[in-house]
């Protein structure tokens, strides 16, 4: 695989972003003008990263059609883990792009701070291009102390949240930023405890959530919570041993918006089906790393800011990585 970052965009801020990503992840930036040029490189030797301007449906469609016609959407040379789309639109309005099988990552463009965002995103790319499953540990390697907490039963969830709250309070995190981080962790835990085992079983259980014990699903199963803070960025991840993440389902859930259509709770599911969209809408980056049948690590990544306004406005993305 060639060590290039192929950029298909003529926007100045994308070039700055890509330059920054390339510098952090030690890739060579190659800027192309047409989808055909990008696809030609993918055909000859798939690059470590393809970064495409997906701001409009027309731009996305042209790239998608070229890939489909020249390589085939499911060809070996088309690796979603390495395909990243930049968009001006929020994920709930990004349309077809989000549901494309070739999408690996959705990046909400940050025109105000493309260099800083690129450096931040570059750490994920750097961990991802090593070609093997990675996690919070690899993203923060050498920059922060990484702590791990094991969770063996749902009753431990409140203790874990309390421990993280104490950690953030000791670090003088402002109240609302702290609550946002805690709610995000809570949702990742809910996902790992309620959704992952059911997805692995292929059906939804009817049992009351309070009676669920993860040992019911798999006696050996445990969940690991990992935390890291480097002074600017705080990351928290939840790893389950089911590896049952479904990208299509994930990409249907995250963009959900209940402002235009009312939220109707389903009676036959344990979880609410809105947790991940809540996490995404409250800011930050989401990364999912899945080895099907082995494990899924879901992580959120926040920049600590002086004001909550900046916290809410921070750079955000959804990045998925599957290792079959």
């Amino acid at each position: 695989m060639n060590k290039s970052l192929v950029l298909l965009s003529d926007r100045k801020e994308d070039q700055i972003f890509a330059n920054s990503v390339a510098a952090v992840s030690d890739l060579n930036l190659v800027q192309v003008q047409t989808p055909q040029e990008a696809v030609k490189i993918m055909q000859d030797s798939p690059p470590k990263m393809v970064l495409v301007d997906g701001s409009s449906e027309a731009l996305f469609n042209t790239f998608h059609e070229t890939v489909s016609e020249s390589l085939g959407l499911y060809s070996e040379n088309v690796q979603p883990n390495h395909i990243h789309f930049l968009s001006d639109l929020p994920i709930s309005k990004a349309g077809l792009l989000v549901h494309s099988p070739i999408l690996g990552s959705f990046i909400k463009r940050d025109p105000e701070q493309p260099e800083e965002s690129g450096a931040h995103y570059g750490r994920i790319v750097n961990a991802a291009i090593q070609g093997k499953p990675f996690g919070l540990n690899e993203i923060f390697e050498g920059t922060a102390k990484v702590q791990k907490i094991e969770m063996r039963n749902i009753s431990q969830k409140s203790h874990i949240l309390e421990a993280v709250k104490i950690y953030l309070t000791a670090g003088k995190w402002p109240t609302r930023q702290r609550s946002t981080v805690l709610t995000a962790l809570d949702e990742l835990l809910i996902n790992a405890v309620y959704d992952a085992p059911q997805a692995a079983q292929g059906s939804q259980s009817q049992t009351s959530p309070t009676k669920i014990d993860i040992s019911q699903f798999e006696p050996e199963t445990n969940i690991a919570v990992t935390l890291a803070f480097d002074g600017t960025f705080f990351g928290v991840s939840v790893t389950d041993l089911y590896g049952s993440l479904d990208k299509a389902k994930l990409m249907r859930h995250i963009p959900k918006n209940h402002l235009k259509t009312e939220y109707k709770p389903k009676a036959n599911t344990l979880s609410a089906g809105i947790g991940l969209s809540m996490v995404y809408q409250t800011g930050g980056g989401l990364v999912f790393i899945c080895e099907p049948g082995v494990k899924t690590e879901a992580l959120v990544y926040y920049r600590r800011t002086d004001s909550f306004k900046d916290f809410r406005n921070q750079f955000r993305f959804v990045s998925t990585h599957f290792y079959f």
Partner: protein, 154 residues
């Protein structure tokens, strides 16, 4: 863990909620059968997770179906966030007042400011500044007004 303080003012049943609303919260047990008039005080709700939202909607939809007149007062920032994320979060109930988050530009002390919804509507997006409670600085509204007050224009 959710705690509830109950009282009655004439025909209105008052419920003062505090803590977190999550998967173990049973609103039907905590608040009981829907009453004709209910006032829900939400100042001390610090967090609500997605399963908590699901339970909340189920309970208050049931109240709505039974014709309960619901008023939400002193909504915390966590509740306001949900009101802005989910169009039917209040299930036909009226929002009387909300807390607005403020932060001092000088010492970063956080403060909350309680405002009635009818006063907020008059102010539009021109939110007042406050005197910092800790120093001589000025505290400003610390969120995106168009997002935090989005529910006012729905």
């Amino acid at each position: 863990m959710l705690q509830v303080e109950k009282s009655q003012k004439g025909s209105i049943f008052l419920f003062k909620l505090s803590g977190n609303i999550e998967e173990n919260t049973k609103l039907d047990e905590a608040l009981g059968e829907p009453k004709p008039q209910m006032e829900i005080h939400l100042k001390d709700i610090s967090r609500i997770n997605s399963i908590g939202v699901k339970g909340w909607i189920k309970y208050f939809q049931n109240c709505q179906a039974k014709g309960t007149k619901i008023t939400f007062t002193e909504c915390s920032t966590a509740i306001v966030e949900q009101i802005n994320l989910i169009s039917n979060f209040t299930c036909g109930g009226a929002i009387e007042s909300i807390y607005l988050p403020y932060s001092c530009g000088k010492c970063r002390t956080e403060q909350l400011c309680l405002l009635k919804v009818e006063d907020l509507k008059k102010l539009g997006m021109n939110l007042p500044t406050l005197k910092c409670s800790k120093c001589t600085g000025t505290a400003e509204f610390d969120d995106i007004p168009e997002d935090y007050l989005a529910f006012l224009s729905r």
